[in-house]
């Protein structure tokens, strides 16, 4: 590949200051994201996997600039650094990026008709044009049909739909602005298993038709492998392993990835090294000086406690951050 990928995120950092209480020291911080880098090719899906609290949502919110990063850069297509944009340029760019939330019950305004919900990105934002009520109806109906709902549902309210249907509405809404990049933050983790695959297939179909790039966030490896071309594994705000889905599913190097693989249903005894573990991730307020996974790692050595292992390429396209598994 000669040209740079469509999306390149470099060294993203976000520390949330803790509110200083009367008796607590100020300047304590939640180290939510500690230098995340990733790249996404046009029309491809990058999976981001990690357990609860590992900083996946924070990363996504940083990319869309819902919250501002402490440092890092984010190049998006022709834009060299999204984080350097002022409000007017950002507004222009935002149409190209959409966000699908984890909880389809919290992401739809319960008092708004579906028609208003799915056309909102069209009615506001950069380059929005005044659409007549008829045009809005037609657009909304078209979007709903696109995601497998009935066009006659436009005047209904969110409470009339099931979780899976709501997630389809969220997808329709995201599509209305014709984005080139969608962040899907655990879009299926709150849904029934039978519904999950329908939604995942819908996302795949849409990608095939339009060439949208996805950043697909999940804590379930099986879902990520199914959808993604490339997967990054996140732990305590850092990427500990990254590589093509196929490579990662068969030749994972980092002990944490192996732990996740071993925890996949039907995969319990597949890998020898990692026993089922009940360890806790480290405190994000006082991160250990060395590898964040040290306390849970079956292969730890003294070196791991002293220094943070860098993310290094072990074979073409496959990166791992572990001193022991090179």
């Amino acid at each position: 590949m000669s040209s740079a990928p469509f999306i390149v995120v470099k060294d993203l950092v976000k520390h949330f200051p803790l509110k200083a209480g009367l008796f607590s020291r100020a300047a304590e911080k939640v180290h939510a994201v500690n230098g995340v880098s990733l790249a996404i090719e046009r029309g491809r899906t990058h999976g981001l996997v990690g357990e609860s609290g590992s900083g996946k949502t924070t990363t996504a919110r940083l990319l869309l600039r819902v919250i501002e990063p402490d440092s890092g850069s984010f190049s998006f297509g022709e834009t060299p650094d999204v984080f350097a944009l002022g409000p007017p340029e950002l507004k222009k760019l935002r149409r190209g990026m959409q966000y699908i939330f984890q909880d389809p019950y919290a992401s739809l305004n319960p008092k708004m008709q579906i028609r208003g919900i799915v056309t909102e990105p069209l009615r506001y934002g950069e380059g929005s044009s005044r659409l007549s009520s008829r045009e809005l109806d037609d657009t909304a109906a078209g979007l709903l049909e696109r995601v497998g709902l009935s066009g006659s549902d436009i005047r209904k309210y969110p409470h009339e739909f099931s979780g899976g249907q709501r997630q389809r509405i969220c997808i329709a809404r995201a599509l209305s602005a014709r984005p080139s990049f969608i962040v899907c933050d655990e879009p299926v983790s709150s849904l029934d298993v039978s519904i999950q695959s329908q939604i995942l297939n819908l996302l795949l179909d849409i990608q095939e038709e339009t060439g949208i790039s996805y950043l697909f966030i999940a804590h379930n490896l099986a879902v990520v492998f199914y959808l993604s071309d490339y997967v990054s594994v996140m732990y305590a705000g850092r990427i500990v392993e990254a590589g093509p889905s196929k490579v990662l599913s068969s030749r994972a190097r980092h002990p944490y990835t192996r732990l996740l693989l071993a925890a996949m249903p039907g995969n319990r005894s597949a890998e020898g090294g990692a026993p089922p573990d009940s360890g806790e991730p480290p405190s994000l307020i006082r991160l250990p000086p060395g590898c964040a996974f040290y306390s849970r790692c079956p292969q730890r050595s003294q070196e791991c406690a002293r220094e943070v292992p860098p993310l290094e390429e072990t074979e073409s396209g496959h990166h791992s951050a572990c001193f022991r598994e090179r």
Binding site: L64, V66, K91, R94, M97, Q98, Y99, F101, D103, A106, S107, L108, N109, P110, K111, M112, G116, I117, E120, P121, Y124, G125, E126, S128, R155, Y157, H159, E160, R173, A177
Partner: protein, 353 residues
């Protein structure tokens, strides 16, 4: 479709609450009466019947000398013009007729008309609630007073609502110093005793102004306490809703803040706001009554219920002409109906009740 889905259960619950339904009916009658004041009132509010001052309410009879002749009133003749004593003249009969011709007025404030709900066949006046010191019909004055007393509550509450949404919404959004300042200001207003606060605001406003401006000033004064309360609760709602996912996605779509406030946040608290309005209107009505009672509110020639009560503020009047206190009964009925309706609405909208 909307009513059939979201509001069906509250509606059914409300219908079961008898007191709520009755008070809603009373309110509907009062507000309809306000629209057709000229039709319901037999006389103009400032029409003086010179020889009829402090006349007691006419009793309505149906039988004359043992014979049924329909509703009628006997003539009351003044016997002592100094102490306003009256004697019933059993020979002069004035039959009550409906839809009689009378003085000109405009129906619904638009259509010129002369027909009144009732009057007498002889054209001699009938005073259902008696007359005041100048011989004006108290019933007619109550009907005309509704225009100010019943609208002042609503107008001031909507003023309060608009102000509350703006102040509370912006404070909740902006956070930081502006939020802190706004909320401390609001708390001071809430802590002050409401009526003294009204008096204070009234005292700093100009006195010799046109009735319309006076109405506006008083409405604005009455709006301040509810505006403070509204601003505080709306601000708290904004704080709890501004991180909702649908608000975040609206922000990402470039929806302006005020639009987010009006389309994503206010609709979630619509029923709470409606409830607050219903329960605040009686406070504003009483506030107007209180100010006017102390001659600080509505003044002649306008008519309001509080002002009507101020003329009963004399122990002689109260003892000798107790019907002068009838406007108080109307105020109590209205306030009671608003509270009863408000609480019925509250029960109906509460999913747990």
């Amino acid at each position: 479709m909307f009513a059939g889905t979201l509001l069906e259960i509250p509606y059914l619950k409300f219908r079961r609450n008898r007191l709520g339904v009755v008070s809603l009916a009373v309110l509907v009658v009062l507000y309809t009466g306000l629209l057709c004041e000229g039709f319901i009132a037999p006389y103009s509010p400032n029409l003086k019947f010179k020889t009829k001052s402090f006349q007691p309410p006419h009793r309505i009879h149906f039988f004359h000398e043992g014979q049924f002749i329909g509703p009628f009133a006997y003539e009351y003749v003044q016997t002592n013009p100094i102490f306003k004593e009256y004697r019933t003249d059993g020979s002069a009969i004035h039959r009550i007729r409906f839809f009689t011709e009378g003085s000109a007025y405009s129906l619904f404030f638009l259509i010129p008309a002369r027909v009144h709900l009732f009057g007498t066949d002889t054209g001699s006046p009938v005073f259902l609630f008696g007359t005041d010191s100048l011989g004006r019909d108290i019933f007619s004055r109550i009907v005309y007073g509704a225009k100010i007393s019943l609208t002042i509550g609503f107008v001031s509450i909507f003023l309060a609502l608009a102000g509350g949404i703006l102040i509370g919404g912006l404070a909740g959004y902006a956070g930081g110093v502006s939020d802190w300042i706004a909320m401390r200001g609001v708390e001071i207003i809430i802590l002050l005793p409401t009526f003294y606060f009204f008096l204070f605001l009234r005292s700093v406003m100009p006195t010799d102004i046109s009735p319309a401006r006076k109405f506006f000033y008083i409405t604005a004064i009455l709006a301040v306490p509810s505006m403070a309360g509204g601003a505080r609760s709306i601000r708290n709602w904004v704080l709890s809703l501004k991180n909702a996912d649908y608000v975040t996605s609206a922000v990402l779509s470039g929806v302006p803040r005020l639009v987010i406030l009006l389309t994503h946040i206010i609709p979630q608290i619509r029923s709470i706001l409606i409830l607050n309005i219903t329960l605040s209107v009686p406070g504003a009505i009483l506030g107007e009554a209180g100010l006017s009672f102390l001659n600080l509110g509505i003044t002649e020639p306008s008519v309001s219920w509080g002002m009507l009560m101020s003329s009963a503020m004399d122990i002689n009047v109260l003892i000798n002409y107790p019907w002068m206190l009838l406007p108080a009964a109307v105020i109590i009925l209205t306030v009671f109906s608003f509270f009863a309706f408000g609480y019925a609405l509250k029960d109906a909208l509460d999913p747990k009740a």
